[in-house]
Symmetry: D2
Subunit: 413 residues, 4 copies
């Protein structure tokens, strides 16, 4: 069987599958599952094109990684064929542990279990299936491989992951602001003392990358309406679990029910393999088909949240740059009690505050290194004559208050 | 509330919602449902980017329609504000009756009920809801409106529907061959004697449009692997209905179960409003979450088909330009009996032939009219010096044979 | 004659000529001349695609202006049909006074005469030709029109001129960094108290615009190799004038010779209409065909500069962030004397320093105003949470030292 | 000196210069001259963006050639490093002999000397300069190299030359119709029995390529206004030569004058090396700066043609599908005599007919071979189910009649 496939990708044109082993990884049900997990969760409710998936992202990142390896080799950096395949596998699988709706439901279906832990577990499973062929990939992924720059390509402040997701999310949302020059950045990559660096003439592209990432955060990832919708999704799952605790059963696929019915924690997750089996069968469609059915359920909270979400009759979300004062929230809660005839205990399903924050560049994290023309290495924040790039490092915090917009109609009473 | 929204669209940049009424139509649950029905069904299994939906297509077509109206008015064609809103509503709703996976399951969930009939029923429902505001749109849609060219914009051989779907499908699949110059074609539209025509200088763009459509058919819409996957989907639904007839219940959302459990025909569909209610709640996720669960069902045929589909372990599909001889199929069926240990009666789930055909241009249908520089009107087939455009009218027929690829391994025995 | 033409533009697709008067302006030889003046002078020596002209830029800016007017009218801002035509004419003609190679030779062919003065003179000429039809356009151009925002659309820190040139220069150079979301910015334009403002939700697009402009400056407009080449061009013209002063005639078109032969200053330029007549016949091809011929002239300086420029055997240009110390320049000059056997007086043709500076945003100029959601108006520098947008206002100064690269070969002696 | 440069190209993103020798070829004045020869002559008078040059086209074709070589090697076709450099050099230099305004003035400046002959002469010159390093490239160019497919990549009905110029001309004119899937076609290339073939699954892309080429011919290359303008250019040069024969000198650069003054033919061209020296100094700017000056010359025919061309006051050109009858032309000539007061002998400068023809695919030329899935080789015309692709082979002939549009105003007398 010919495994040297070429896949059409609207972002890059064509993506080649480089080897039989990579082809087999892609064919595995764990990886095929990513076809049904949207990259940016509920963002499509604001940007209708944003239906792209973790599957496409993983393939795209693999494509960019291949370009990066080619560039580095062209500059004389030694990378063996095995290392190449390993770093391609590592980037391909870096998000394998994402659950339904990516980040939105992390820590909700399974309390305290991050997608990083799940990725690690699933990679180990795959490694067993493939008789240890993933040893090197896992070492790179976990930063235990001597050639440290390989890990930095997979995970860092200017990694291949970010290059693909910015390009891809920008493409599918239609938000041109997020476009970055991934090809130029990749051509400027180099390695000095085992560390990934950018050649000096690539400095403007890196600045642009940081700015693009910042703008995508505020314009897309942290868009207030998206934030509100994703929180509704989370509240729905919380409510469903509450009902199960009360012994009320709901329509759900067997694997979704498994997580609604059982109290699974970080501690007991790894003890029973059944949990991972069911997790590996979950995707967006389990959640969405359940929500569509729950929209006709007797529980008025579950019904209200679900029917609003499927009809895109979303909560109103307002952004503030300082924490809203208590009386503002209390006022909204009192209106909710009055308008919807609910108890005070239920107001958490009607009014909530989220704190969100973002910084474009983290100065105390693995920083972006510039290889100056004189051979020295500088941090991007020093090397840039955007004199105060440091401002990009400042954490910007905002507060999102969400509530049904009907509450505004009884505002001035 | 501000209903003059602007929506980001990766294909056209921005789409404006032109009026409050159109905004309200878009907000209606019937229309929001289209968010969850993929435009090109299972095509994403071959072209991973092709996850776009009927929702995006309907908005895109509305956008192009607004450009067409602007062009025609600029050429002095009288179109009232009411007619504009009506034709925008007509194109917006032209696919409202599509069920899950668009064409793949047409006539399967509900025997003999086409999406055109369903669209008509749902438009009537909406018209009732909106107090007759859709009267004119429905008249245009059904070609009962005096200004016949308005209907031709909605439905014809060079209509706005096709311009959007070719542009959009080409964009999201990444198949550059399908790109058409929709903006140039639209700028060349004119009306003579109440009929839509194309100005002569647009003739090359129309030729290109016909060629692009032809190529998209063979490269995307009738791609052999896509055909095979869609037929697997259909066979799954057939099997599920068979099991229900035998009294075997399956996991299914209430609305999906409604169609599995009941024998609904074109005749009784309109008699009971419940049918339409349930239909209007169905989308791709009902089917997909069911299939994921059925992949673990006891019935070996259902289990086999479902588990293969979700793991993309698809049937092999081969294309032939003449009908395969009986003995070829019989041979495959015999192998299936032997290899899978099934009865002869079950072979229809293992081996099948589909006949497919396509012509780029239909000469006896509403033809594309060219307005020549001397004022005369000619059919494109005459006007084009692609001397024999007539060849594009020829129906090309092919035959697709699908079967599990394991059968090849026992081929020469 | 049909003057409602549509022009293909690779950047925007199609550009419509909105009226017969605008069509006649475009047909005028003054405007047609812009077809032969490259927008970015010698930049094509570094970015080969950058051959686009002032002609295309002017049409593109007119196109964006039409979109801006449409947006503002849609928001209820009163703009009459006459005002629309006037502001379109104003932007169309805003660069009409540019001479050969745009900015490179400004103040060289005609000492002390800026392109702004020349534009004003040529607009007056056109106004006479067109019987005062440009009165309003000229008033807008000179900020003497009561609706001040019309002038701000033509000239300001976020004007239509910049939106087109950033988009266009980015497109033709292939430097993706310069891409801006002109369509989004335009849709966010509004007018408050007669002043152009940007709605708050457009703030990220404006930040992006400022960053893109900054990057284009350093990566394209002030690219060191381009700077060096443009300075060579200027030195060539200086040398040619020197030779004329010494009575040595050179091959030159009659109009170019007019400026080589005569001492024309800002003072006497307007006294004699012949000067403007000859100026209006000059474009890039006069200069280039002369330089090609001068490459074989007896004067060794002229010959050396010209033959190097046409063969792209450019001077080496090095950038410094502080003024180079005298001894560095003196050293280079001494090498030049030795290597080329020239006199000290001629070293100015072999070694030179240019001081360049740029700031992305000027705080004391007409600032960019943001219309906040609460109705207040803020300067972008305050409104942006890119906390210290002020850093973008900082003038960055660099120094470019140019010299023949052969001088390096005799470096360490 | 680092010769491994990367060049920005708006069409492909980045183009890498693969070796020091290729870098040196690009630096040679013969090649740098191509910077000043527009790829599509006067087309920019209709499509203002079409200012791209032979320089860009040659680099672009080299880029695609590198991709093609990479693809073929990936399929196991043996191509040595020397052969790769040779075929890259061959495609880089394939148009080196083009004179000013590419095809427009071929056979005019130098009667009977084609650009192919000039290319051959200049390649030989370069080969001498580079000590025989071009031996292999020249053998490939002239189809004297054993690996015949290398020549077919350079010149054939589906060669790299065409792939680049269709992509590039389409890009810069903004005519989306010309877009082809060069990347897909290249990925489908293969070699069988030393001949270049296309794998069967690439057949739709090839059809699309042929259609795109055909459309570009009629929409761009043979656009009636472009045809008229290019013919005016040719008539201007003819008139200039006539005047020189009469002893009337004109403003012209020395190299242009060389060709106006001397009677140079195919026979004597190679006898005197001066001819080639002057030819190699000519580019579009010699012609254009002369025409601008001639627009003020005493000769009324020269003045009229030149002043019209620079002000884009072009002749009217009408297309006919059959040869216009004599009386039509005679009538126009009589009007010209009357309207312009010229002699009958001069009417050839006022009224002319051009016969143009084009076929998308030539069946008796080196045909496009398809590698069928069964391993057989078929001609595209047979392999395509565009049943009658043969119609694309039909030569379409048209007749273009050009004349000053004033003649129409005295039409009905």
């Amino acid at each position: 069987m010919n495994k040297k496939k070429i896949i059409n990708d609207p972002v890059y044109g064509f993506i080649s599958i480089p080897s039989g082993f990579i082809f087999d990884l892609i064919q595995h049900p764990y990886f095929q599952r990513l076809r049904y997990i949207k990259q940016v969760s509920m963002t499509h409710l604001v940007y209708p094109g944003a239906l792209h998936t973790r599957f496409q992202h993983a393939l795209g990142a693999m494509h960019l990684m291949a370009l990066a390896i080619e560039t580095l080799r062209g500059k004389g950096i030694a990378i063996t064929v095995e290392e190449e395949e390993a770093v391609l596998a590592a980037i391909l699988l870096h998000d394998i542990g994402h659950g339904p709706f990516s980040h939105s439901l992390e820590h909700t279906l399974v309390e305290g279990v991050s997608h990083e832990l799940l990725s690690a577990l699933m990679m180990d499973e795959l490694n067993t299936t493939f008789n240890g062929q993933l040893d090197k990939a896992i070492a790179i992924f976990n930063n235990r491989y001597p050639k440290k720059f390989l890990h930095q390509l997979v995970s860092g402040q200017l990694d291949i992951d970010r290059m693909d997701y910015l390009s891809r999310d920008s493409f599918f949302t239609g938000v041109a602001e997020g476009v970055i020059s991934f090809d130029r950045i990749i051509k400027m990559l180099h390695v000095v003392d085992n560390e990934l660096v950018i050649e000096q003439k690539g400095i403007y592209s890196v600045e642009k990358f940081l700015i693009a990432r910042r703008l995508m955060y505020w314009q897309v990832y942290l868009h207030k309406t998206v934030l509100g919708a994703e929180q509704m999704l989370l509240k729905i799952l919380q409510r469903a679990k509450e009902l199960y605790e009360q012994g009320i059963l709901l329509f759900a696929s067997p694997s979704l029910e498994h997580f609604l019915r059982n109290k699974i924690t970080r501690e007991n997750f790894t003890e029973n393999v059944t949990h991972l089996v069911h997790f590996s069968r979950l995707d967006d469609t389990d959640i969405w088909s359940a929500i569509k059915t729950w929209a006709y359920h007797d529980d008025h909270i579950l019904r209200m949240l679900c029917s609003r979400l499927i009809a895109r009759s979303l909560y109103r979300t307002e952004l503030y740059s300082t924490a809203p004062q208590d009386h503002v929230i209390v006022d909204l809660e009192e209106r909710a009690v009055k308008y919807f005839g609910i108890t005070a205990a239920d107001t958490a399903y009607y009014v909530w505050v989220q704190s969100i924050e973002n910084s474009a560049y983290e100065q105390n994290n693995s920083t972006i290194k510039i290889l100056m023309k004189d051979g020295s290495i500088q941090d991007i924040a020093e090397a840039s004559d955007l004199s105060n790039l440091g401002t990009l490092s400042k954490k910007v915090q905002k507060f999102a208050v969400s509530f049904p917009k009907e509450l505004l109609t009884i505002h001035h009473q």
